[in-house]
């Protein structure tokens, strides 16, 4: 109702965000110039003319080439940490008298000067977007320059605070959304590629399709993360029917199942800041409110590590996981044309499904959690591994990654917390009885030391 007020409010943000584009005046600044500006910004001038200094620094940064940017990051690492002298002094004072006052002082003194620098840079018009971009550059350098870790630590600390879930806004994206946002959805979709505007339209315009995204007010029309949802009559066992060009839409009021079939993070510069957990849960709430008949919330997810694990097991000697029969079959699957051979397909089905069910229990990190990152995400959120689908994605990419298998993770609002706690505290993963039945006895007999399955009330 009173949303009006913030139209223009954010209109203002937009304008400020846009104005940054016009700013570059072709000055060629060096990374040393930037370091001077940075000093000036965290020093006295930052107070009076801070916005202008911040804007200039960000503009100049945008003009730097990759090497100069790396040089600027090095300066940040070397010169903008906490001041060693005072820090040592505060550390000693705390050891001498470990009271709250000295603890507080120690915390204040130990704050790297980078944090104040980043906060002041954020005051510039379009500052937040520029800083997210800057961290994208930083992450690229970080791979080869571990000495920049401390710099990234500060970015990440502040972004975690600024992109707090309380500041995020969920928005449905549909065919009435401005093109400037839609083109970003096309660009950012990372799971099932969107082939142009008509393909996008098929995913957001029909009554049985939904797309939700989180936005941050300071990033204007740039989404942080989004999820694509299909409303269906049952849990889907393949992706093709969902993405089909010719499809009879379902009346959403008659749908019983909401399928989260694609989740994409949009901002490389926000890597490590977690939104997906909150997104799924709020979308479940929204959908449940809009369509009271929905009773099942489920994903249709890839199994990105399955085949690599199989290949690893094939390299091992002995029958630990793979039987001789398994190996013979898997050899056949090395021929990418196997899906056209009926006999192989028929033979592969029980074997792959059993192995895949085993995979989630046997391929574990040192913490006892599945190595499969998608599994870790959903199981960690409190979902349950519900169903394994044979030949669910026939694309070359999926055949290469998982022999075409996909799985469903089920989000049952009444069980989420129980599953999450069992996972977080005891390393147990929630698995449906159907999947449990797929797991071969041998694997069940020798569960990982860290892990066992949670029995779910079905």
């Amino acid at each position: 109702m009173n949303t009006y007020f913030f139209n223009d409010l954010l209109g203002t943000i937009v304008e400020r965000g846009r104005s940054i584009i016009d700013r570059g005046q072709g000055r060629a600044a060096t990374n040393a110039d930037l370091a001077d500006l940075a000093e000036s910004l965290v020093g006295g001038r930052g107070e009076a003319s801070g916005v202008a200094v911040a804007a200039t620094l960000l503009d100049d940064y945008a003009e730097l080439d990759r090497e100069a940017r790396a040089g600027f990051f090095r300066i940040l690492a070397e010169r903008f940490g906490a001041p060693p002298g005072p820090l040592a002094e505060a550390a000693r004072a705390f050891i001498e008298r470990p009271d709250e006052t000295n603890a507080l002082r120690l915390h204040d003194v130990s704050e790297p000067r980078r944090q104040e620098l980043i906060r002041r840079l954020n005051r510039a018009p379009g500052g937040t977007a520029a800083l997210v971009e800057m961290r994208t550059d930083l992450l690229r350098e970080l791979r080869e320059h571990p000495e920049l870790t401390a710099v990234d630590h500060d970015f990440r600390h502040l972004f975690s605070s600024w992109f707090n879930r309380g500041f995020l806004v969920l928005r449905r994206i549909d065919w009435s959304t401005p093109a400037v946002v839609l083109e970003k959805i096309i660009r950012y979709e990372a799971v099932h590629r969107i082939n142009g505007w008509e393909d996008l339209r098929r995913r957001i315009d029909p009554a049985d399709r939904r797309l939700y995204a989180f936005f941050h007010p300071a990033l204007v029309d740039d989404p942080l993360i989004f999820v694509e949802v299909a409303l269906t009559g049952d849990i889907p066992s393949a992706i093709a029917p969902i993405l089909a060009e010719e499809r009879q839409p379902l009346d959403p009021k008659r749908a019983t199942t909401a399928v989260f079939y694609s989740i994409s993070n949009c901002q490389e510069g926000l890597r490590g800041i977690s939104f997906g957990n909150f997104l799924i849960k709020q979308v479940v709430e929204e959908l449940a409110r809009d369509f009271p008949a929905l009773d099942t919330f489920v994903t249709l997810s890839p199994v990105p590590g399955f085949r690599a694990w199989l290949d690893q097991e094939r390299g091992k000697e002995g029958p630990a996981v793979l039987t001789a029969a398994d190996r013979t079959l898997l050899d056949k699957l090395d021929d990418p044309g196997w899906t056209a051979d009926e006999a192989t397909v028929a033979a592969a089905k029980p074997v792959l499904m059993a192995l895949c069910a085993g995979y989630f229990h046997q391929s574990l990190t040192k913490h006892g959690t599945p190595t499969d990152p998608v599994a870790r995400f959903h199981l960690g959120n409190g979902a349950r591994l519900e169903q394994i689908n044979f030949l669910a994605d026939g694309s070359a990419k999926a055949l290469a990654a998982s022999h075409g298998l996909m799985v469903n993770y089920l989000y049952d609002p009444r069980q989420i917390e129980r599953h999450h706690e069992a996972y977080a505290n005891e390393g147990r993963i929630a698995v449906s009885s159907a999947v449990r039945r797929l797991v071969r006895k041998t694997s069940q007999r020798e569960p990982s030391q860290h892990q066992s399955a949670v029995a779910s009330h079905e």
Copy 2:
């Protein structure tokens, strides 16, 4: 242009903000219950069902009475600081090897657990508003309970980061603004009281009146700070003509002067987080863009400490500041009816104006800056003390505070930085030659050790 998108976006925020109101279900929680919830929130459960736990804690808090709230704060102070053991260990490690890694660890370990708690509370719907409210309570307790200082330190640290100028949005308030915002303007005005809706209308509806406010997206329709502006033909020397009920509005295109005649902070819970500096500067920019004929940006400000200082000087012996003639005159002004006596008025004018000019140079803090808080704010922002106005505000409040004097501080965009730096680095205050001429020779001969005037190009 593409502001549309964020209507609903913020509509969503609004809804979430509103829903909090419906939440209290009359449960009677104790401060110990809250401490348990807080433990749970910063611990494992915070990840999976954090939003719900945070919402419950905030709801329960809202039900507590004052004493229980104070108890909750005490628990936060005692139990939610940095863990002393690990902190001592990290401190020792740094002293032993003062490298970047150990500095970083020291900073991480020294972070009070309260900070993570506050961040997680912020995830709840309406969390930001509830936290600002909570700090309002805290500041009240703080007066008598200095042991809560560390708790406030953490609130303040996070609020400084969250209410970063880059996240604030400037909005003009006018007669088309929703009533829910306008009623807050009426309530928050702290300088020249707004007497109901018609009085408000006189300040925002005429073409030569403007009101601008900063908003934060998470606080929906609650302003953070606002400034009231009159567009005039010259620098005003009294407040009454500006607030007059019957007034012929000026065509704003013909105005040469923008007068900032009232600035009010709105959120007690954000005390110490500074917005005014940024607000004035952005409003100057907005006005300059809308009305290119404007060439003068000036305040009409009270002098809250003048009379108290005079009274102090009257208590001193010797002629240091006040002459015998001064004292005789000031005695007369003790009778509040003096403004009706023409002879006294005529005699008072030169004396009060000279003394007031002297006041800004002579009544100094230990840092050498003026004791007058309004002066400190504007001079620190880079403004210049431009004009002293005799009998500019005849209200009882103003007579009591400053014998009715008001002053104008001038914001000259070309001089702001120079003035600020002279003030910040050398303690020199910018003063117009007109005001300088008012200062008596003796005072000029003996400038404060810290302070002297900046010559301004006029």
Copy 3:
């Protein structure tokens, strides 16, 4: 969802609407000047520079005094009708050959030139609002100048077409509505006066109060008609509890009854263009959607003609309507203090209720419909006279109009059409059995020749 687009769209309208205010340049035009402009507008120039000519005419009109405006209307009546010569010719042609072509030509030729003039005036920025204002003036003149009837006929014809229900937009008004709209609600409320902003707030802000208005896009922020609704637990029998200052709001989800307790037309210049019927029906739809538990939609309405009718009957001789006992009682009620006398109150109740029930059946227009205008409106809309309430409004106004009685008209969506048709085709009014039982036998024995009651399924 895609409403965004039209923000700015209507923003544009607003601007245009506003710009008209700045336009008057103090030229003193006469009604003859206006007539010249009008000629020019319906003639050739209207095509090329029509908007400018229309704007000038409307500006000039706004500067005229009442007499000159009346003069302008007279010119419209005399010179801007249909051209008599061509009209006579077309009439003769039709009589000679009454085919479709000649009928069409006759219709075209018979159109008064005023209609094209009004359509072209509407092209000016703010034209629609200016024309509604112009008709307000016209209606005032019309009382004494029946020769202007034809001019009004043309305004009314076009307004009926332009303010077609398909172009109206229903909006809920609440505390988030801009002040510029709210002040109009205060001004336009015609049934139960709104005493300032706090009183307004009590009618729109609590969860169990609603106010809905129809708007037309070309009239920007000016409502056409609005209705105030209270959500309650039962059919109310008095107005005071609804308007009470101190009230515990009802949770609207638990309300069973929506009470339309005030309906006000806002635009005098749109008199005779009917919106109320559509408004009530759409509000019923909105409420039914928002609050599925609502099962009763009812008014709480005045009975404006009751006492006048009683007084008339008292003047008649014989026992036709009033018995001797009635007359004795009514004599007592002439003393305005009667409501304080318990015995009189007790005696009055059965008599007034019976007479009031009879009033709706006996006080009839020549068409056989009730003389009471409020009854005609609601019964004509398909409502049923549900309940008569004794001493429901103790205000002086209500005592004078109806001895304090109010009634409820019930809107039962399943019966609306049946009731309407019985009323429209047979003159029968729908009355609840409770009200029917109140009617004295004698009246029932001698129903009006035109009218009888519709039995309602209860």
Copy 4:
């Protein structure tokens, strides 16, 4: 500023507009059923349950096949005209006493019942859009069924009134516009086809490109007409550089010229309702306000009738327009490859330009206006024929229509009215001296009887 209010306001319209889509329930109505509904709608039921009846009629209509729709139109033509008996009577009464009262009655009685029917249909949700669709059907039938002319007459009469310029809203379309609007722009562009979303983007996103459209609030997100504008440094002499894929955008603040290079009507059902004149003039105003440096407003327009006229002249005997040399050259141009032959191109240029200049003066309708419809539109609006461009559009379509010539019409705000009046009253067309110099003497010596050129101040 207070545009907010109408977001939701139009949101409501949108919803109502959308709901109509869900309505069809597969009932198979006949045109006779519709006629019954229509009778019921203009009769008594129209008052009480009119909206529902109207909605049903429109839904049923949408289900009819083409033949049944034609049948419905025939019934409208035959049974829903003015009632012949009363009309004849009213005609006679007027002949007998031709006063204002009888004229009025005659006009009222002569109104076809179709008009009230259409007005009542408009009350349905989405009614306006459905009626515009209905007229699209009607216009198609009209070509072969002139007996439906009267039906179209009524649609057109009401649409002219409803789509009055005062109810239209100008909106800039850009990359922030919702996709649902943008896809319509792609579909409706009729002059220079838009090849997909990237091509659209090139026309609306760069800073030196603008697209403006008129909307009607009742048609929600469907534009009525739009114009595409390029901001340039001079008057363009060819279309290709404007539509080029790779282009360096001009800083719009440095542009001197606004080029209207494409104007498209969007709604076939609104044929004959003129918006273009108003659109161009308001866009000129908008651009002039946004970019004060603009001093030239000009089109780049096709010459659709030029070649057809040439071919006609070639068929005539004698040297009236074409010389023998002309004929020889034109024979060469019959080979579509001529543009590749330098010699032919060089020879063609002076001949085609002279003939084209002559064409506008010599190819005239019986009213003495140019036969070229684009010329009639712009010259009628008060523009001047400014420049003739040789080989300005090399597309097959343009070569076929005009041997590749295009022209510029100049809109000079100071001359528009003078030009329009000369055109409207005296049939004189405004032509620049450059174009005048192109016209061969012989043609100038023998100007058409109706027409001559207006001298323009250059």
